[in-house]
Symmetry: C2
Subunit: 555 residues, 2 copies
């Protein structure tokens, strides 16, 4: 064994494995690099699979990012597909591999450095009928081919997607684009359960606008198949029966940690393979990256499993470099920054949600703004709702959720970048973003959210969550008469209506001794009203996001 | 004079003045707030003016962001339009104001706090014919109306735009959309002189694709008008004569600092009114914001005039708060982050360019990458070129320029955000950005640029600027035969051609004793080739941006 020309063995060709292999080669021409992949394909576009089924990516070959031949030719990587690594002998530094071809024959491969990128497997619940031929999960190209073959059939008219996470939503969108009547079932009480309910609501509304049947708060009880083993209906736990020609299960993934576990590597609290900042496991010569590994997780100051392609690629690159040279930069903290497109709107998140902060017992405050993605006077401005979470004690940004039309991706990336530096809402208020009318506003939605958060942090303005119980509180709706008539504030009676521009003249009609909440359409006029009332002796708070966001809570 | 109810006087209703006024009101209901504006309009959308001329913003009313009536009604601001502040008596704390109505009558207005937002005025060179009726600058609504009236005439077929900065380029685009045959003249040797030449080149190419006549390196010598004072031709300093029905001068602005200067306020080295981090001038009771003020400027660690709407709005907000309460957050450093759309492409910048770094005597290194704006396998991916500048000593990001199709704005904002925190290229390589195929890549262009910069910083890869003289150097083009045949590497003879995938077998055909440069299409394969050669004993460097960027230099 020579560390000038080490043998680097990589287990898993997707989820960071290919990144590790190619970086290792670039760092070390002398290394022997062997990449095992138990399936047929390495380095395919796993995030693109739904879009091939929906024919938005028409050519299947486009999904093959790097073939074994390419990796061999350009990077001199010994790619061995259809070969599964069965076990690791850490003392002898060898892995046992099952040969290709379906036999049980095995052989040993020695390593100096071993990189585990085993990924994760879709969860299939142990329910009646789940083994039917047209009940499928979507994880790799074979799954894609199977699902697409069914969708391509003329007889396929209806589909059921179970699970309203990222993959479930992407599949629903693509099935609808293929003119399949689609039902979406989700056990939680909302779609996209990673998001706070009011932030996920616009996604549900967009699904309904596209004639998707959405069943939230409903679990799959069983699937009914015919005598040929073909499913034709599903029954939910509330008894609802759904006729269908195809069932796609998108209810989550389970990290493939058994190989690591059996080798005695430490498994972290989040259930992933424990790693340090160089992506080394509890064995210095073994690395773990991708969906099965833990990463440093910023907002919780902990380590977490994050099944996303971005961190997998970056971690793979670092592990490959470290395996080849003995050093690499520190793996940066991840925030779970992610995004999904659902027809005309997008939902993105980074870091903590209110729900997650509560579960992690983290003191957090939030603000929600509704704003246009570029200058309102420029045609084509689309609305976005941005919820920003920050630490109550010092304003450190903890997370953001954004839902809307154009420009959602930009804002989540800006906030995630600020979070990389442990920035505060005050930092965010001062970031110098590019502005021209087609691209943004002089006061970007990111700035607006930061301004509101700063006001809240500095005690300039109190905010009340959109879903708060307003009973017994003096509620003042400061919108115009026309707006109020069109849609009254939900979930509250006895609202006093005074348009903001007339508020100063009508202060005496309000009771200074009562706790007061002001509300407008999105919170901007409410802010002005709250400042007027506060300076006039009221104990006042502004309803975060105004009637727009409250409508989503009480829909 | 009471500081509970101070009198806050604001000079200038655009460029931060309106932001200052409304923030002051929100912070202090008791203050008397007077806003002077010498023109007719306050708080109009100055960045939107070209788009109204081009009818992309059809309704002129959309340009009126906040009318005097609105500011009076909602914010109780005493807006006095068509009244010019002529002088400041700092001892008596009064300003002298010329009354509206064209008379020379003046009156005094006292202040406790004075906020100057006088903006800037377009430069009009003292050339023959510039006073012709159809030779115009674009700064306010009256200018807009005048230009649009001319464009609207059927007889207007040709236009000449002088100055290829932001406003010049926006005007050219909009004139072409109005089917006006347009000539663009720029004194510098390139369009968008703020950018490094190779980064501005795609903008020039886009202009040519839209049949704009582009004359760079040419100055305006004189304008020829008929006996009615209407210009019909312009003559450049090289003698070229251009027939035209309209001339728009977009050659820059001059800050309106005379009022401040005459009052004895300090003027900074950049020619703007000197300020501290609360936007106070050398007189604690007087603030300055907008195009006439200096801001903290990050990449140079200095103070600079930055005539952009974003900083003006943020500075106005802070000044208004400080004037009303005696405190505010620190004004964040600005980077000159800016963007312009020119037909189908956009160019953005933040911080330093190579040219600016040289002029500021700042040690900087740069990398240039060419990449798709989202996953290449997803349809509609558009190319962008990203040039990243960083400090040679520690990798601190100093600036970026980006030119391309979709997604340019997002990347410049991410980099500007990292710069806010004085981030390094290593930070940038680790930012956790949102990825789904319609929005980005697992390795975003921002990451790719940071990876390359990190390689350069760590000595893993040497890079050679695209415009370097390659004479006498062993140049290896590692593209495929087909690519080389289609377009050979410009500005160099005797290129050796070895495709990257065959390089390892042909090392002996190269001379290890010679300085060697590798090049491919954009730099990615060159990176691999440079690693192969370096590890085989070559003194090798990769041509930054490959043949694609070099083509722009030698076009």
């Amino acid at each position: 064994m020579s560390m000038v020309s080490p043998t680097i063995v990589i287990v898993g060709g997707v989820a960071g494995g290919a990144s590790a292999a190619t970086r290792a080669r670039r760092m070390n021409e002398q290394a022997e690099i062997v990449l095992f992949e138990k399936d047929e394909y390495v380095s395919f576009a796993n995030c693109g699979l739904p879009y091939h089924i929906g024919e938005e990516i028409p050519d299947r070959n486009d999904l093959l990012v790097a073939t074994p031949e390419f990796l061999a030719q350009r990077f001199r990587i010994d790619v061995r597909v259809k070969q599964e690594v069965l076990s690791i002998d850490r003392d002898r530094k060898v892995v046992t591999v099952r040969k290709a071809g379906g036999s049980d024959e095995t052989y040993e491969q020695s390593y100096d450095k071993l990189i585990l990128a085993p990924g994760a497997s879709p969860v299939v619940p142990p329910l009646e009928g789940v083994d039917a031929a047209n009940v499928l999960t979507l994880r790799n190209l074979n799954d894609t081919d199977r699902i697409k073959a069914i969708v391509d059939r003329d007889a396929t008219k209806r589909a059921l997607v179970v699970g309203a996470g990222f993959i479930g939503l992407e599949m629903v969108e693509q099935l609808v684009q293929r003119k399949i009547a689609t039902t979406l079932v989700e056990l939680q009480s909302q779609v996209l359960p990673l998001l706070d309910p009011e932030m996920a609501k616009p996604i549900e509304q967009e699904l309904l606008r596209h004639d998707v049947t959405v069943c939230t708060g409903a679990g799959l009880d069983r699937i009914i198949a015919d005598e040929h083993g073909v499913a034709f209906a599903a029954v939910l736990d509330d008894g609802t029966r759904i006729e269908t020609d195809l069932v796609i299960l998108g209810i989550g993934v389970r990290p493939n940690v058994s190989l690591a576990k059996e080798a005695g590597l430490e498994i972290g609290a989040s259930g992933g393979i424990a790693t340090n900042d160089s992506m080394q496991t509890s064995d210095d010569d073994i690395y773990a990256v991708g969906d099965a590994a833990e990463y440093p997780y910023a907002p919780g100051d902990t380590r977490m499993r994050i099944a996303l392609a971005g961190p997998a690629n970056r971690a793979g690159r670092l592990a490959g470099e470290h395996a080849a040279t003995g050093q690499c930069a520190k793996m940066s903290a991840v925030m779970g920054t992610s995004i999904v497109r659902v027809f005309g709107i997008s939902a993105a998140m980074t870091g903590l949600t209110s729900g997650l902060a509560t579960r992690m017992k983290r003191e957090a405050r939030s603000v929600t703004i509704v704003s246009k993605h570029h200058a309102g006077y420029f045609p084509g401005a689309e609305m976005m709702t941005l919820k920003l979470l920050y630490a109550s004690e010092d304003g450190t940004i903890l997370g953001a959720q954004i839902v809307g039309g154009e420009g959602v991706d930009k804002r989540v990336d800006v906030i995630a970048t600020a979070m990389h530096f442990e920035g505060t809402v005050c930092d965010l208020a001062g970031v110098d973003l590019a502005y021209a009318p087609p691209f943004g506003s002089a006061k970007d939605p990111v700035h607006l959210a930061a301004f509101v958060a700063g006001n809240q942090l500095d005690g300039i303005e109190n905010l009340t969550d959109a879903d708060s119980n307003l009973e017994g509180i003096q509620v003042v709706d400061v919108r115009t008469a026309a707006e109020v008539q069109k849609a009254s504030l939900k979930g509250v009676d006895n609202v006093i209506h005074i348009p903001v521009d007339e508020l100063r003249e009508h202060l005496d009609e309000l009771d200074r001794s009562r706790e007061t909440i002001v509300s407008c359409a999105v919170g901007a006029r409410g802010h002005i009203a709250s400042r007027i009332l506060k300076q006039n002796g009221f104990d006042v708070s502004n309803l975060s996001g105004g009637a727009t966001v409250r409508d989503r809570v009480f829909d």
